[in-house]
């Protein structure tokens, strides 16, 4: 089941490689079919999933028994939402990319490969396997940026590749440290969590922690490792940005929650404050810098820095609460918030980048915030959806972002009251930033230069409306999603405690 979900896209991609170069429609349909199928399956997974059932649908095969490496997949409340998010965003991005025809074959193949990699990352329960998927996501993204990207695409691509590679290699070291200190030696994550191999060795634990930290922090990206993000986002093609912001960033936070927290609780607790401070910097800093951006994509990118800062604040808070049962409640809440924010940010920012793409790719061919104005009167639908997404992003109650931020704050306030208070100022800046953007683009007198712009067409609506609907539904009643997450987080906190 999980393998099917994971490798369907890849299969599709390989099939596409065999198709004739000229038949674009066929290739597009195949790709859509592949990722669509995997999306449907993931929904089925959602249906069959028992809340509170711990790891489910596990698949365990001996792979490299020589060094205790297994092919081990499994899904729990933490990974499930992310998996569904991944498949969903992939499908939508594919729908959106319908117009691409430059080197289409490579594009689709890489895209599907990327999807497989991301799904694998969220599903893998064996460090070796995880690492492989982790790296697999790297290459296609590099190509997507480097070939289909904007003017400075090569710089951005290599920067992205570089930063992430540094991180992931550091992680490899950490993984090996864990491996060699486990007895019996194993790469199996659950087993390692059970063993707590580095429990007694603060130095090694610290090394391993920072190893993981570097890798995940770069992905998240946490301040000050964020500088690859704006470049990558700005240069990447729309679909690429969507995937990048929507999912790849989550791989970092996912790593923190899935590995750093349960594997190295003491170390994490020890450095939680540092992490929190960095997160805080990311929040305030991200919002402020975003405010100064004139490039719409950069703006959204920095807002991502800000939002991922919220996530990290929650995670750090949870980590800081390790070993203090009276704070377990708060920790759970914070983690719930963090994970929920992952999903929320995935949906919202995904939507935002699609929105930018809509105006940039096929209409205005500029992203200069100041070059627009008054679009509200000509493109009502576009304006509506954009406004909604931005409002969701600035944490307006009734939309998804708010729930996440509320939970994070409620949780972290119990652990880092002052940090949280500071973080809240980020909200104001966020609001100011997004509203100002809305004002500059959609409000004010209509800029005649854009008189010819058509409103969104069906395909674009198709790729955006679902996201908007999700924002609203989970914003009003987050319970269905939250229960799934909550169960897993309760278990996690239980483990950590």
């Amino acid at each position: 089941m999980l393998s099917l979900i994971t490798f369907l896209p890849l299969a599709g991609g390989l099939l596409i490689l065999l198709l004739p170069k000229t038949n674009h429609a066929l290739m597009k349909n195949v790709s859509l079919l592949a990722s669509g199928a995997s999306f449907v399956l993931s929904l089925a997974l959602l249906g069959m999933y028992q809340i509170g059932g711990g790891m489910q649908f596990q698949e365990l095969y001996r792979w490299i028994p020589g060094i205790a490496i297994n092919y081990h997949l499994g899904v729990d409340g933490l990974s499930l939402p992310l998996v569904v998010l991944t498949t969903l965003l992939s499908v939508l991005s594919l729908i959106y990319s319908w117009r691409i025809d430059l080197r289409l074959k490579e594009y689709l193949f890489l895209f599907l490969l990327l999807e497989t990699g991301m799904l694998g990352v969220f599903l893998a329960l064996d460090f070796f396997l995880f690492y492989i998927f982790w790296e697999v996501t790297l290459v296609p993204m590099f190509f997507l940026i480097a070939i289909w990207g904007g003017p400075r695409r090569e710089y951005a691509a290599i920067k992205f590749f570089l930063y992430t590679l540094v991180g992931s290699l550091a992680m490899l070291l950490a993984i090996l440290i864990l491996y060699f200190n486990s007895d019996p030696r194993t790469f199996s994550v659950p087993e390692l969590i059970r063993q707590q191999p580095l429990a007694g060795q603060p130095l090694l634990a610290a090394l391993a922690f920072w190893g993981f930290f570097l890798s995940f922090a770069v992905k998240v990206p946490m301040w000050p490792f964020h500088t690859w993000l704006p470049d990558a986002h700005v240069e990447a093609p729309t679909a690429g940005s969507v995937i990048l912001a929507g999912i790849l960033l989550k791989m970092g936070t996912y790593g923190f929650v899935r590995f750093s927290l349960p594997l190295l609780p003491e170390a994490f607790k020890q450095y939680a404050v540092i992490v929190a401070v960095l997160a805080l910097l990311g929040i305030v800093y991200g919002a402020l810098v975003a405010m100064a951006q004139t490039d719409l994509k950069k703006l959204v990118a920095y807002s991502s820095v800000n939002h991922m800062g919220f996530v990290m604040l929650g995670v750090a808070a949870a980590a800081a609460a390790f070993g203090e049962p009276d704070k377990a409640q708060a920790a759970t809440t914070a983690l719930n918030g963090a994970v929920f924010e992952m999903v929320a940010h995935g949906i919202i920012t995904g939507a935002l980048f699609l929105i930018v793409g809509v105006i940039y790719d096929h209409r205005a061919h500029t992203r200069g915030v100041d070059e627009f104005g008054g679009l509200g009167s000509r493109l009502p639908v576009y304006t509506g959806i954009s406004t909604m997404a931005m409002l969701a992003s600035l944490g307006l109650p009734g939309l998804m972002g708010f729930v996440a931020e509320f939970l994070i704050f409620v949780g972290s306030f119990g652990i880092f009251p002052y940090f949280t208070a500071v973080a809240l100022t980020g909200l104001v800046f966020n609001a100011a930033m997004f509203l100002w953007t809305i004002q500059r683009i959609f409000l004010g007198p209509f800029n005649e230069r854009w008189a010819h712009l058509p409103d969104m067409d069906g395909r674009e609506k198709l790729s955006l409306v679902p996201l908007a609907v999700l924002m609203l539904i989970f914003g009003i009643y987050p319970r269905p999603l939250l229960d799934v997450i909550n169960a897993a987080m309760a278990v996690l906190v239980g483990v950590v405690r």
Binding site: E154, Y155, I158, L162, Y163, V166, W223, P224, F225, H226, T227, Y285, L288, V289, M291, A292, Q293, Q329, A330, T332, T333, N336, G374, G376, S377, G384, L391, L396, P397, G398, F402, V403, F406, L407, V410, F413, G414, P417, T420, L424, T425, L427, V428, A431, A432, L435, W436, Q439, F442, L443, G444, P445, F446, P478, R479, L482, D483, N486, M489, A490
Partner: protein, 641 residues
């Protein structure tokens, strides 16, 4: 099963209306207007039904689990008690009237149906806010109304001023909201619940007390300050008048801005419980000062709506003042009455604007003859506002002054002065608008029936609603909406007379200047001199903020951007990888990618090469030399170890 159990329908109806109109807009009856009005109408009826039941002492409360956090459930729900009931009435009744009025006022606007959609959304949020039985849901509604206010202020967003005003409004209130949010977090953190009655129990149980309680209360009040445009966050409200007049009437006079007052009233216990009523004292003073200051600014405004705006601010100040001086009932009472007569005033003003197509009173005059209905109703409103018995405003304001007189003498005097000024500026407005001769070439005409009818209805309310607080029926309102710990003070005739006298004096003064022209306003202005300038610049609040807040923020953000572009990027590239070569190679690779391979080779042969090239001379013998020395080093290393 009582109707109370169905109260949740109230906010849902407008919400549905909102989506219907958004999606089907023009295809709906009356381009969506009727849908909105229908929803509001039903709500109004429901509210009345609810009120009737609540009058019989019924209360109700219902919850659903909104989120499971660990093993603790976070519940949200709604409750119905007198305060809620009153608010419901105010919102729905005033709301529906304004909706109807809007049909006429907004007629022919390109985004006609969008307007009603937003209004419905606002109604939904406002009603949620009112019905909420916990801080979370209240906050949801709170932000919701904020959003709608944003959308509606910026409704005519083609006007840059409107767009700016909208942004200003949202961000300013958002600042207050942040404090409120911290307050909520604080409450949740200390008490583990957000549901009002649980919170109150806990507070009475002393779970939250002392300075911390004061802090929590003040943080919440921060939100109120933002919403109710109290000092120092009042700056957004006047600009908010960029929105269509019905909006100003509904949101920025009757309901939303009152939400702050409502919040304080709703969480009154937190304020009341704070040691020595500190929190309340703060509330009172802020209210009092706001009341006076705003009123004074109101004197010098020529834009009819801005006059209204400042008067609203000052009236809200009165409400806060009332609440602050233990006049719980008084505050709420004034909230209610004010809702009616201020809405009336706005709509009337709207009808005037509708006729004149301008906001500037300088260009008006002598409209009394042309638009009698408007004139009449507006006069009623003015009288109510200035507190002339028996109109609504008199009763509530009098109560506030009464409470102030008993609990806080200085504030009483401030209030009294405020009352005088209020009367002055409101009648200044009346005289400028309706008195004298028309001062422009416009061809004004009475507004259509659909606009005047709501005026009349509201005028009727404004005239009589005050009696619910009239002493000779031993003040039923007091027994309905009351806060046991702060029971109202008995009616005091002498004070009532005093305040009335002051109000009349104000009117007289206004008449003297603007009707009988005993003294010309110009000479007054000259006499006032600097004071006038101060007022004209609204005490320089905007300038202050622009200078002290906005510009620094933008400046910082720009600096940070540069910093990010260069410093951090550079630093991370250097620090991120702990390897001295790396930084160089990075820059070099940057070159490489940006300017192509050639630069790289050049750069490397220049830099790296300079160091390493020696080794790679291409001469076999230097290689051999390397071997020799390699061996020697190895040997030495081997021997020395």
């Amino acid at each position: 099963m009582s109707v109370l159990a169905y109260a949740w329908i109230i906010p849902v109806l407008p919400f549905i209306a909102f989506w219907l109109i958004i999606f089907f807009g023009r295809r709906l009856p009356g381009e969506g207007a009727y849908v909105a009005i229908g929803a509001m109408g039903i709500d109004a009826l429901l509210s009345i039904a609810i009120l009737s039941q609540v009058l019989d002492g019924a209360t109700y409360q219902a919850n659903i689990v909104w989120a499971m956090l660990g093993d603790r459930a976070l519940e949200v729900g709604y409750q119905i008690d007198p305060l809620t009931a009153v608010m419901l009435i105010v919102v729905t009744v005033v709301g529906s009237l304004i909706f109807i009025y809007s049909i006429g006022y907004m007629h022919g606007d390109p985004r006609y149906s969008r307007f009603f959609a937003y209004m419905s959304l606002f109604a939904a949020s406002m009603l949620t806010l009112v019905l909420a039985n916990n801080l979370l849901l209240l906050y949801v509604g709170w932000e919701g109304v904020g959003l709608c206010s944003y959308l509606l202020i910026g409704f005519w967003f083609e006007r840059p001023s409107a767009a700016r005003a909208a942004l200003k409004a949202f961000v300013t209130t958002r600042i207050g909201d942040t404090f409120m949010f911290v307050g909520i977090l604080l409450v949740f953190f200390t008490l583990g619940t957000l549901q009002f009655d649980h919170v109150f129990e806990a507070v009475e149980g002393g779970a939250l007390a002392g300075p911390l309680l004061t802090l929590a209360a003040l943080l919440l009040f921060g939100g109120a300050v933002g919403k109710s445009a109290q000092l120092p966050l009042h700056v957004w409200l006047p600009d908010a008048m960029e929105g269509p007049t019905p909006v100003s009437a509904l949101i920025h006079a009757a309901t939303m801005v009152a939400a702050g007052v409502y919040l304080v009233a709703r969480t009154y216990l937190l304020f009341f419980g704070s040691p020595g009523h500190e929190a309340l004292t703060v509330v009172a003073w802020i209210g009092g000062i706001t009341a006076l200051m705003a009123a004074t600014i109101g004197i010098v405004q020529d834009d009819i709506k801005r006059v209204m705006a400042y008067s609203t601010i000052s009236q809200l100040g009165y409400m806060m003042l009332g609440l602050g001086v233990l006049g719980f009932t008084a505050g709420v009472f004034h909230l209610m009455t004010h809702a009616f007569f201020k809405a009336l005033l706005f709509l009337a003003a709207g009808s005037v604007i509708h006729a004149m197509h301008t906001n500037d009173m300088k260009e008006m005059g002598g409209l009394a003859k042309v638009m009698p209905w408007t004139y009449g109703t507006m006069l009623v409103g003015a009288l109510a506002l200035s507190g002339i018995p028996p109109f609504a405003g008199f009763w509530s304001k009098d109560e506030i002054l009464l409470e102030a007189f008993h609990h806080n003498r200085p504030l009483f005097w401030i209030g009294l002065v405020g009352a005088f000024i209020t009367a002055f500026y409101v009648f200044r407005m009346i005289f400028l608008t309706f008195g004298g001769q028309l001062r422009s070439a416009a061809r004004p005409h009475e507004s259509p029936r659909v606009m005047t009818v709501p005026l009349v209805v509201l005028a009727a309310f404004s005239a009589v609603i005050g009696f619910v607080g009239a002493p000779w029926w031993d003040n039923p309102f007091h027994h309905f909406v009351e806060f046991e710990a702060a029971a109202g003070v008995p009616f005091d005739l002498s004070l009532a007379l005093l305040s009335t006298a002051v109000a009349l004096a104000g009117i007289a003064a206004a008449a003297a200047v603007y009707y009988w022209k005993v003294v010309s306003s110009a000479s007054l202005r000259r006499a006032a001199g600097p004071l006038y300038g101060l007022l004209a610049h609204k005490y320089y609040w905007d300038e202050l903020y622009g200078f002290a807040v906005i510009r620094p923020t933008l400046w910082i953000s720009r600096q940070l951007r540069v910093f990010d572009l260069y410093a951090i990027d550079g630093a991370v590239n250097a620090v991120g990888i702990v390897f001295v070569w790396f930084a160089r190679l990075y820059r070099l690779f940057d070159l490489y990618v940006v300017d192509g391979l050639v630069n790289l080779v050049g750069w490397v042969t220049g830099k790296v090469g300079g160091v390493l090239r020696f080794g790679q001379t291409g001469r076999p013998q230097s290689y051999l030399l390397a071997i020799a020395f390699g061996v020697i080093v190895l040997v030495i290393g081997g021997i020395l170890r």
